[in-house]
Amino acid sequence: MQQFANPRRFLKLIDAVEPWAWALTLILLAIGLYLSLVVAPEDYQQGETVRIMFVHVPAAWMALLAYLDMAVASAVAIIFRHPLADIAAKAAAPIGACFTFLALATGSLWGKPMWGTWWVWDARLTSMFVLLLLYLGYIAIWHAIDDPGRAARIAAIVALVGCINLPIIKFSVDWWNTLHQPASVFRIGGPTLHPAILTPLLVMGAAYLALFVTLHLTAIRAEIMARRLRQMELARADEV
């Protein structure tokens, strides 16, 4: 029973924090968008399209961060069997998938003007694509197993194996990409970003981070509720 008290206390916490989290997120987003869309200068060679970067890059960062979050939560779930951990992991997945998709979408939107094509199998793009697949697989597992306890363990294993796999993929894809001479590699970004661009980028990064945390909290709450509902159904079955 003490185990279950835990989520309950956590729910209270969420309820307290959530409004502030949303407020912070919205403010940061507002500032970030203002800086990136109005203040930031347009790139001398990329023109206005450079502004896509401000939605694209942070999205990519979040996509990676979310997976890390998921993997850590899964590790905790496996090692300490903490009920909240697998709830957190499960909740992180769809959000991470969305950020990944956003990075892919904005990326290819950007790619059209830059490369003249929506998509190239450049190393980073490919690894990002595989990341999306990893997210899909993880989510599918949760879908496919009904018993939450069992689903949690299996999903955790999937997440961890994927986590080991991710850097290997990044490494292999980079090797692969230098192997062939792709028709149109594009040196994405540059080592030195002009501060006028860097500041809005960082602000947007912060905004995305806040957004991720907020969404995560909300999703965790929803998941806890869903489980309570399921248990009530099971309980009703016993009431006869």
């Binding site: 290819s108 094509t117 929506w118 998509w119 190239v120 199998w121 450049d122 490919t126 694509f129 595989v130 999306l132 697949l133 899909l136 697989g137 989510i139 599918a140 597992i141 879908h143 496919a144 692969w176 990409n177 062939h180 792709p182 028709a183 149109s184």
Partner: protein, 222 residues
């Protein structure tokens, strides 16, 4: 009639419950697509050139991978036996199962394929013809898949066996499908003809699959 509707409804619900229905099919489609450039290199021009063929092969394989679940579960849990006691002949049941498979697996993939084509720099001019051809072909594929699924039902280790039996049946659909969505101008004239032939293939499958499938199931049950 309600009997058949019940089967389709149930199979769709099951597909949805067991891992996101169409989503999973699309996911597989994507995973196959990512293999291609990794296998043969990221050269945009090359990829664009073989894009339609790649999409077609990915479609065939996805349908294939989902095929062995058409009758296997019902056979294993005894549902199939009870279905022979129903008001509708086994032929129609095979048809219903094929329809469910098409809706849950083949159709979503056929619809999504052209968009996935973007990843292979598919020539946008081919969107429509490809989509159309795949829509038609997917019907034939689902019908043939359920025919072979009926033939291999209950033989464990069906996956590969089923493929060997199915792929040859898919060859005509593949050939005319590719023709109906052919890139280079010289062929684009023959597209309408190819589409018509695809239609003919669908009708043929529609005529054969239910009867052959039902016969196979009866043989397995006795």
């Amino acid at each position: 009639m309600t009997a058949l509707a019940a089967i389709v409804a149930r199979d769709l619900r099951l597909a949805l419950r067991q891992g996101g229905g169409a989503g999973i099919a699309l996911g597989f489609f994507l995973t196959v697509l990512v293999l291609i450039p990794l296998g043969i290199g990221p050269d945009v021009a090359l990829l664009a050139r073989i894009a339609p063929g790649t999409l077609w092969i990915a479609l065939l394989l996805s349908v294939l991978l989902s095929a062995d679940r058409i009758f296997e579960p019902d056979h294993d849990d005894g549902s199939l036996e009870i279905m022979t006691l129903g008001p509708v002949p086994l032929e129609l049941i095979v048809l219903a199962k094929a329809a469910a498979h098409w809706l849950a697996t083949a159709l979503p993939m056929a619809v999504a394929a052209p968009f996935f084509g973007l990843l292979l720099n598919l020539d946008p001019a081919l969107f429509l013809p490809l989509g159309l051809a795949m829509l038609l072909a997917s019907l034939a594929l689902s019908l043939l898949a359920s025919l072979v699924a009926a033939v291999t039902v209950g033989l464990k280790r069906g996956g590969l066996l089923l493929s060997i039996l199915t792929l040859p049946l898919y060859v005509p659909a593949l050939i005319f499908g590719v023709a109906a969505s052919a890139g280079d101008e010289t062929l684009s004239g023959s597209r309408p003809a190819a589409l018509l032939i695809l239609l003919a293939l669908v009708l043929l499958a529609l005529a054969i699959a239910p009867f052959a499938g039902a016969a196979a199931l009866r043989a397995h049950l006795r």
